[in-house]
């Protein structure tokens, strides 16, 4: 079940009771879930009763070109609503929350709310080339201030672009604010309410911190979605901005809600959430006025759809997975406690089914399992009798991990300190700082790194150990550190096209290079990993020419005819790039191939 956070004081106000904080966290949150559910279902049941009597005053027509960009719209009307400051703010806040979450930052659904008394139905939802759309956007009332003292005027304009404008202050209120401010700033000016062409508006919003992140949704489309009223007044340019003309404010009595969407199911859920949450403040409580949506092919749909669906669940499917034994009536009682209407029906076999009425607000109930969860919550998780799974299984470890642990212990016994570093690093650290070139065939590249620290998945542990050394450069010499960890390389036999490879790397830093120290460690590792009765050749070192090592002071490690690693003195230019003043020797081995 999804959880909704509710202000504690507002919840207590709704309940008409307060609960002290001496309850532990568990019962309080339990109350929370139950009460929010109760809140929803009371609303909807009443709304349903009223539903039949409502008449269809308004309709919205769909232009079929909207299917190119944002094919769905659902609408509803709340009449005789009374806002106060708290209600108004929570109305705005709910829209913000929905936009962020279920609407996925307005990509799936965008909500527009309008003062119905300023506009006239029927409305039309169209998709037009941006050059043909002209309107005064909500946010632009203040920004269009011009003045004889340009600096001051710009400042006033900037101040007015703050959230109070966005929250739907009416044009005339705003003019008053601006005039007052103008007077104070001694700016002789007039207010121009500026009308924008849609494509210019999007260009303009590129510098708007709040809106710029939504522009990509329609920016590259040849047509933009737009909603007009009967007088061709623009209601909104979804999912970017509403028109200033129909903005709601504290005095608004009748609210027209439209949700445009690319996902109809989500749009319905969003609309249902909006109307069920706020119909409480209508003159006739919990009354919602429906709107008919007519598609260009003549099909029509009445929304919001507040119908209740039935779900029939065998009793055993509810109580067996919980591990409790309850009879039908007890289960029904628990479901009622969760504000779900439930009844039972008897089957010919002597078993029972539970019949649950799922209200439109419980969009989370998809399966009998969701009903089972409500029963388990109402029963109380902490009251469920504990039992033990009966299956007999044997434990076991992955051979590679077991082997890695043995190698780690061996290197630690040799006096090296283990470190644990990040798999992600910058492209530079993995390549150019190690004097290596990216041929494009080795490293996994991140498409959306938040910062340069997360550009590639490491293909060697060298940069990681050098970075760790750099951060501990004041530690007494010699510094001996190691890591056993995974790198990722492109290719391999995995379906995704990239595979992990387990590596051992060790770094020695002192006043002299410590080449023999590292060689000693390589010899030790090669000696202890050798399987008994197998005579690996003693001569497993071959001179190499890798750019990250010092010339003539480096070797490849060969095992079963395959190069599995290398070691040597770290190249002075590499040390310089990582800011390390003392000579270092380094080794890295693919231990997966030693297994």
């Amino acid at each position: 079940m999804p959880t909704v956070s509710v202000g504690r004081d507002r919840l207590f106000a709704a309940l008409g009771e307060t609960y002290s904080n001496s309850h532990s966290i568990l019962p309080v949150s339990f109350f929370l879930v139950v009460c929010v559910a109760a809140y929803f279902s009371v609303l909807t049941i009443s709304a349903q009763e009223e539903f039949e009597e409502l008449c269809f005053k308004f309709g919205i027509e769909l232009d079929d070109v909207t299917s190119l960009i944002r094919p769905f719209v659902v609408c509803a009307i709340l009449r005789g609503i009374t806002f106060d400051e708290a209600r108004y703010n929570s109305f705005i806040e709910l829209q913000d929350k929905l936009h962020q979450n279920i609407c996925r930052r307005r990509t799936l659904v965008a909500i527009g709310t309008h003062d119905l008394d300023t506009i006239q139905g029927p409305f039309s939802y169209e998709a037009l080339p941006p050059q043909e759309i002209n309107f005064v956007p909500l946010k632009q009332l203040g920004a269009a201030v011009v003045g004889s003292a340009p600096g001051a005027a710009a400042q006033v304009a900037a101040d007015l672009r703050a959230d109070d404008v966005d929250n739907g202050v009416q044009a005339k209120d705003l003019q008053f604010v601006v005039k007052k401010r103008m007077h104070r700033e001694k700016v002789a000016t007039c207010i121009m309410v500026k009308s924008f062409r849609a494509d210019d508006l999007l260009e303009y919003y590129k510098s708007d911190m709040k809106l710029k992140k939504f522009l990509h949704i329609i920016e590259n489309s040849p047509v933009y979605p737009v909603i007009y009223d009967n007088n061709r007044t623009v209601l909104s340019l979804p999912p970017i901005i509403n028109g200033a003309h129909s903005a709601i404010n504290l005095k608004t009595r009748n609210v027209f809600i439209e949700c445009t969407a690319t996902d109809l199911t989500k749009a319905k859920i969003v609309l249902n959430t909006m109307v069920t949450m706020f119909s409480e403040y209508c003159e006739k409580k919990f009354e919602v006025e429906p709107v008919e949506v007519i598609y260009s092919d003549g099909k029509s749909m009445i929304c919001p759809d507040l119908s209740v669906s039935r779900m029939e669940v065998p009793l055993s499917e509810i109580i067996d997975p919980i591990g409790i034994s309850l009879d039908v009536s007890e289960v029904v009682t628990l479901l009622n406690k969760m504000q779900l209407e439930a009844a039972h029906s008897s089957l010919a076999t002597g078993d029972f089914n539970i019949v649950v009425s799922v209200p439109p607000t419980r969009s989370d109930i998809l399966h009998a399992r969701d009903v089972m969860e409500d029963v388990a919550i109402a029963y109380g998780y902490n009251n469920i009798p504990k039992s033990k799974p009966k299956c007999m299984t044997t434990g076991g470890r992955q051979p590679l991990n077991r082997f890695s642990d043995k190698v780690r212990a061996e290197v630690a016994r040799a006096g090296y300190m283990e470190v644990l570093t990040w798999v992600l690093c910058s492209h530079e650290e993995n390549f150019s700082m190690l004097r290596r070139k990216d041929d494009g065939d080795k490293a996994v590249i991140i498409a959306n790194p938040r910062s340069a620290d997360f550009e590639v998945v490491r293909t060697s542990l060298m940069s990681c150990l050098l970075k760790t050394l750099k951060h501990n450069i004041d530690h007494p010499r010699p510094i001996k550190i190691f890591e056993v960890g995974d790198v990722v390389v492109l290719g391999g036999d995995r379906d995704v096209g990239a595979s992990n490879n387990r590596r051992l790397a060790a770094l020695y830093c002192n006043v002299s290079s410590g080449f023999e120290e590292i060689l000693g460690l390589v010899e030790r590792i090669m000696k202890v990993v050798r399987a008994p009765h197998i005579n690996a050749p003693d001569n497993y070192l071959k001179p190499s020419d890798e750019p990250e090592y010092f010339p003539n002071r480096q070797c490849s490690i060969i095992f079963n005819g395959k190069q599995i690693g290398n070691f040597g003195i770290v190249h002075p230019e590499v040390l310089k790039k990582f800011g390390i003043p003392d000579p270092c020797s380094f080794m890295e081995i693919d231990i997966q191939s030693l297994l």
Partner: protein, 496 residues
């Protein structure tokens, strides 16, 4: 050694050495050298040394000259012939200093008479007492106090106070001292002389040598069964869990999300939360018949579910990413298990790295380690989950657990696990758990009555609580301070 042998040898036959200065002079060695030996022997109570102050006098440069050449007054007197001499002639023959000092002292001693420019003797012969006194002082002989005062006045000698010692046998007197050894050496064993050796007392307040050992990070195990990861690993093994192969950081969206019945519009699939890949951008293949079943359950449901009712897109499922949870591996394991007939129950666990595209701060890392356990069998219940969690966490020393409803797209029901922390005196969240949704399990082909109970937690959280670390970056990554690794106490999990 010469001095030590001399002292001990002397005291063997004599009762005492009255004056260390005289003794040193007798040996012909410097007193300072002798003094060091005296102090050492006294410290071991081999001799008993009483110190005393002794005034000693040293000749000045002038005094040394007189001791050789005689005093100026005597030289002056000797230069005056018995018949007398004119002062002017005398002045020419004598050194000016001898003339001036000698004339005044001779006169004072009443040896001569000076009148009308000529000098005459008043006595026939004189004794050079000053020269004799100076020679005596130089040789260390006793000199009368008045004479000393006179010489001091004439700045021919200076006074110096010396410390001297009177030596007697001490309680531990031996005629020949054995040398105390400080350490047992190979040589001692070879010679066999360790039996006769005296060993120096050991100062137990001295610090030991820093030991040369490697250190494992607190996040991974330190020594043998010590650290958190290995302990948790042991607990899983004791409870019959089999480790899953998690060495696959790159995963496709399909196995990370879609197969878990996580809808394609879910916020977790947003680029703000997940690292998507430029290379390799998409997966090479997926099991097509299974993909078809997953698509259907998302779009229209089935298996008793309504589904999410949206257009499921293959492109989204193909996108590669860095796995956001190890549950991607669990999903693959369960799918493979479902393909094996007949079904066999399994307990699986893993502890490995996961990736989130989050801003790094005190409590969040872009990479961290996830611990996951799951059991798959016929007819498992929520009661079984609670029972197994109590067992698991009790072995970590957390015996008081409570469960709170939570939301997770692929588990239903979902429970947050809280444990009462005695140190913090409050309930702290330690992990998440739940039963996998039928919409996830049934498309895999698992039998209808098979349930999967699972739980997960991060490895960093218990480690931070255990080591009192409040910044996760102290634990992990290149900025970790070596001293944190070196000075961390061993993990006592599972030892209580």
């Amino acid at each position: 050694m010469v001095a030590e042998d001399a002292i001990l040898g002397f005291l063997q036959s004599q009762d005492e050495i009255a004056d260390s200065h005289e003794f040193a002079a007798g040996l012909g060695i410097d007193h300072t050298e002798l003094e060091n030996v005296i102090k050492r022997l006294n410290g071991f109570e081999i001799i008993d040394a009483q110190d005393f102050k002794k005034d000693n006098y040293l000749l000045t440069e002038e005094g040394k000259l007189y001791a050789v050449e005689g005093s100026p007054e005597v030289n002056f007197f000797l230069a005056v012939p018995p018949e007398g001499i004119s002062l002017a002639n005398l002045k020419i023959t004598l050194d000016p200093k001898v003339f001036s000092i000698g004339s005044s002292w001779s006169k004072k001693n009443n040896w001569i008479e000076i009148a009308k420019g000529s000098v005459t003797r008043k006595v026939d012969a004189v004794e050079d007492k000053v020269k004799d006194l100076l020679k005596g002082i130089e040789d260390g002989k006793f000199v009368d106090g008045n004479d000393v005062a006179e010489l001091l006045k004439r700045k021919l000698i200076v006074k110096q106070t010396w410390k001297g010692y009177k030596l007697r046998k001490g309680p531990k007197y031996v005629s020949k001292r054995k040398k105390a050894a400080t350490d047992l050496t190979r040589e001692h064993l070879q010679k066999g002389d360790w039996k006769d050796l005296e060993f120096k007392e050991y100062n137990l307040n001295a610090q030991g040598q820093p030991i040369q050992i490697g250190y494992l990070q607190p996040l991974l195990e330190a020594w043998q069964e010590a650290m958190v990861r290995e302990e948790i690993q042991n607990i899983f093994l004791q409870m019959g869990f089999e480790e899953m192969p998690t060495n696959n950081f790159v995963e496709s969206s399909f196995w990370n999300f879609d197969a878990l019945f996580q809808p394609q519009q879910h916020p977790a699939r947003d680029s703000h939360d997940t690292f998507f890949l430029k290379a390799p951008a998409t997966t090479r293949d997926l099991p097509e018949d299974y993909v078809e079943r997953v698509k259907r359950v998302h779009e229209v449901g089935g298996y008793g579910s309504k589904g999410y009712g949206y257009d499921w897109k293959r492109d989204e499922a193909d996108k590669n990413l860095l796995r956001t949870h190890t549950t991607a591996v669990s999903t693959r394991m369960l799918y493979m298990l479902a393909q094996k007939k007949p079904f066999t129950p399994k307990r699986y666990y893993s502890i490995d790295r996961v990736f989130r595209n989050e801003a790094v701060d005190r409590t969040h890392l872009a990479e961290f380690h996830q611990i996951e356990g799951l059991i798959c069998d016929h007819g498992l219940t929520l009661g079984d989950l609670i029972g197994v969690l109590e067992d698991f966490f009790a072995r970590l020393g957390m015996t008081k657990l409570r469960f709170k409803p939570a939301y997770n797209p692929y588990t239903e029901p979902s429970m947050e696990i809280f444990s009462y922390h005695d140190g913090l005196n409050k309930w702290v969240e330690i992990g998440n758990s739940g039963m996998f949704r039928p919409e996830m399990l049934l498309p895999m082909g698992l039998p209808e009555d098979v349930n999967v109970i699972a739980w997960g937690l991060s490895l960093e959280r218990p480690t931070m609580i255990l080591y009192g670390i409040d910044n996760i970056r102290d634990l992990f990554g290149p900025k970790v301070d070596f001293n944190v690794i070196k000075n961390g106490p061993i993990c006592r999990l599972g030892l209580q």
